[in-house]
């Protein structure tokens, strides 16, 4: 029987329910009553002891949200979300602000262990401080773990503080650096931006705040893990990263969630601000629960991520490996305001089972001699739908704009779909745009060649897929490229014979 036909037979019997991270931590959690109302917004703000202006900001967003309608334009199809049937706040019950990691609920720490968070980070979470020079090499990683709605621990704060870098939960930043937060919050993604961003502005519970002062190269990679545990909660984290003049920071976001039968909502907002000669590298490895083979359950990932290259020579680089989520809707974008600023977007989006991914980027060229680069690799398997949606635009005054875009899609099996929807708009004549896209499958010849050398159909597919996504994997910080590779292999398990 031809190998392709066999593959197809086996696709039909995939067990997408092999989600490795599908377990629940049994801890007590403190929840606000279900539903969303002004009282809930006040409740959240009060729980975090936020300043008055923050509450006013939230309420403003909430009232605006009530007037807005959910967007329906993306190529995704989902059952309507009952916003009153969710908990908007859930935090593991614990004493007031832990002073050390010993006070963290051991169940929570066990959760991170099960998640396979790199050993180094496990040790960090457990409070083991390495001696100078005993590292196995590579940079150390400061980890802020967000468990449901609250940041559980942030490590390496002291060392970062020495460099002047602020890395803490946003709730803490509101207490300790309120002026900084107020200056930048909502300036890249205003509360009016879109339905989910507005909702997030009203009920965001936590997220990371990073400030890197002038001329400082952040001494380590900053990392955050998110995990949604509670049933029927929405995760609304809000991240704000500011790179002051001449600074550099690399930030990594990783996410997993347990399996559930009801869908869970993840509506995050990430704002990046880069001033003159500074750079932010933002990497995401996302592995939210994708739903089962029938498309039941799974995370709805609706995220607004935007970076503002405010200064000249500013640079933002978004790298994402998306393998989870039942529904994904996210377009990490760059506003290239400063002259000579640069935006980059590297993406691997894999969909299997009945996942739906509609993701891409927007590069808005406003300044002079700005450039952007987009490399997007989509892999669709099972009965999934995988769409790249991108906008590259050069404003009339954005002379000397350059963009290169390459979107490739790989289809595994005849029941999925891969789509490319690029918008390319040039409003001045010194712009140079180059866009190319291809869609195909792994050729039978290539598969046969690998199999003749001894690889099974699955091994051959994994090998070729790795080659296909190589350009993007290379952009990830070393620690996470390996994890991402494993994740890719796992998410394609069962898609080929």
């Amino acid at each position: 029987m031809p190998a392709v036909q066999e593959t197809v037979e086996q696709v039909r019997s995939i067990d997408v329910d092999q989600y490795k991270y599908g377990f629940v931590t049994d801890i007590e959690s403190e929840k606000a009553p279900k539903g969303l109302s002004e009282d809930i917004v006040r409740f959240i703000s009060a729980k975090k002891s936020e300043p008055e202006w923050m509450l006013a900001w939230r309420l403003d967003a909430y009232r605006r949200w009530l007037t807005m309608k959910e967007p329906t334009w993306a190529r995704v199809d989902y059952p309507s979300i009952d916003y009153q049937d969710l908990y908007y706040y859930a935090a593991p019950k614990t004493k007031a602000a832990p002073k050390s990691l010993d006070e963290i609920d051991p169940e929570i720490l066990k959760t991170y262990e099960k998640l396979g968070i790199p050993l180094r980070e496990q040790e960090l979470l457990a409070g083991v401080v390495r001696e100078e020079g005993s590292d196995t090499g590579g940079s150390r990683v400061a980890v802020d773990a967000v468990f449901d709605s609250v940041s559980v621990a942030t490590t390496f704060k002291a060392e970062l503080a020495k460099a002047g870098v602020i890395f803490c939960p946003i709730s803490e930043a509101l207490r300790d650096h309120p002026d900084l937060v107020r200056k930048y919050l909502g300036t890249v993604v205003p509360t009016s931006d879109n339905y989910f961003a507005t909702l997030n502005s009203a009920v965001f519970s936590d997220g990371s705040f990073v400030y890197v002062p002038e001329g400082v190269r952040c001494p380590m990679e900053l990392s955050t893990y998110f995990r949604i545990n509670e049933q029927k909660t929405g995760q609304f984290e809000r991240t704000l990263i500011i790179a002051d003049k001449g600074s550099y920071v690399s930030y990594l976001e990783g996410c997993t969630a347990p399996r559930r039968d009801e869908n869970q909502l993840h509506a995050a907002v990430v704002e990046l601000i880069v001033l003159d000669d500074a750079e932010i590298k933002y990497s995401t490895v996302q592995n939210w629960y994708p739903g089962d083979a029938e498309g039941k359950g799974g995370i709805f990932n609706f995220v607004t991520k935007r970076g503002d290259c405010r200064g000249k020579n500013a640079k933002i680089s978004w790298t994402q490996v998306e393998t989870g989520s039942a529904i994904t809707w996210k377009y990490p974008s760059c506003i290239l305001r400063g002259d000579n600023s640069r935006g980059e977007f590297y993406s691997i989006a894999i969909s299997n089972g009945r996942q739906q991914v509609d993701s891409g980027t927007k590069m808005i060229h406003l300044g002079r001699n700005t450039s952007s680069r987009i490399i997007s690799k989509g892999i669709a398997a099972g009965r999934s739908q995988n769409t790249y949606r991108g906008l590259v635009s050069a404003h009339a005054r954005a002379t000397g704009t350059r963009n290169f875009t390459n979107c490739d899609s790989l289809l595994i099996g005849p029941h999925c779909g891969a789509h490319t929807v690029p918008y390319i708009e040039a409003k001045n004549s010194s712009t140079v745009f180059e866009h190319e896209a291809t869609t195909s499958k792994i050729s039978d010849e290539m598969l046969f060649y690998c199999r003749q050398r001894g690889m099974s159909a699955e091994e051959a597919t994994a090998l070729v897929v790795n080659g296909f996504v190589k350009d993007v994997l290379q952009q990830l910080p070393m620690e996470f490229a390996v994890e991402a590779q494993k994740l890719i292999a796992i998410s394609l398990e069962g898609s080929v014979g």
Binding site: P2, A3, V4, Q5, D444, E445, M446, F448, Y449, C450, R451, Q452, R453, G454, M455, S456, A457, E459, A460, L463, V464, N466, G467, F468, V469, K470, D471
Partner: protein, 252 residues
């Protein structure tokens, strides 16, 4: 002693067209068999059927490799049993470094056979040794497999894979096509180094030239999907002088 390869009355169709019409062939280990014939005779079809390429329908006959029915096996299972096909047109695999490809294939076969896998340093050592003998620049091992390689480089790569994987039956599909005399010599030397009492070769070629370098024990003429003549190595020289015309007439 069971022959290494036994092909009995093999009939094969491709896209509804009959290509092999009752092909018989027996190859003992330690021997080199050459298969020559005019274009369209079914030479490449034979090599693909042995390797298990999809799209080739066996309508009758059997193929036994070490006495085992090979036609029922998947391509990678046949490979793990020790069957190697040197492709006439080796594939390019973007983004996959040659070394990565070699390691994946090598260990995949080992795993299937229940043998221990080789560590990266050990494997690299082996690969370098073989590469040096084939005049392959180690830089090439880092480049994506066959991407941008010349014809000669691709064929030397095939020979490297063969030497690394140590198959028991090597099927060379027109290995000489597209090679100049120097590349041909390097490849032929590589093949000859692999000759052993435990190993058998099926060398498929249109031209006699290759057989000056890889001297066969047996020569078969394949015409219209069947073996129409079998002889010693002199048969190759005879064919060079007379051409295939008489066999095409016979087979018709």
């Amino acid at each position: 002693m069971i022959p290494l390869l036994q092909i009995k009355n093999l009939h094969v169709e491709v896209g509804g067209r009959k290509i092999l019409n009752g092909l018989d062939l027996v190859v003992d280990k330690g021997k080199v068999h050459a298969i020559m014939g005019p274009n369209g005779a079914g030479k490449s079809t034979l090599s693909y059927v042995l390797a298990g390429k999809p799209g080739y329908e066996v309508t009758d006959g059997e193929v036994l490799f070490d006495g085992e029915d090979v036609l029922a096996m998947e391509p990678d299972a046949r490979a793990a049993r020790g069957l190697f096909l040197a492709f006439q047109y080796p594939m390019e695999i973007p983004g996959v470094a040659t070394l990565t490809f070699l390691r994946t294939a090598f260990n995949a076969q080992r795993k299937k056979r229940g043998e221990p896998e080789l560590s990266v340093p050990d494997l690299m050592k082996r690969v370098r040794e073989i590469a040096a003998k084939l005049d392959i620049n180690p830089e090439m091992l880092r480049r994506p497999l066959n991407v941008g390689f010349s014809g000669g480089e691709k064929k030397r790569n095939e020979t490297l894979q063969m030497a690394l994987l140590e198959p028991r039956l090597c099927v060379l599909d027109e290995t000489d096509s597209g090679l100049d005399i120097d590349a041909l010599k390097v490849v032929a030397d590589g093949v000859n180094r692999l000759r052993s009492p435990e190993r058998g070769f099926v060398v498929i070629t249109h031209y006699q030239r290759l057989l000056n370098h890889i001297v066969p024990d047996v020569v078969h003429v394949l015409a219209a999907g069947r073996v129409v003549r079998t002889g010693g190595k002199e048969l190759a020289l005879e064919l060079e002088a007379t051409g295939y015309a008489q066999y095409q007439a016979e087979a018709a």
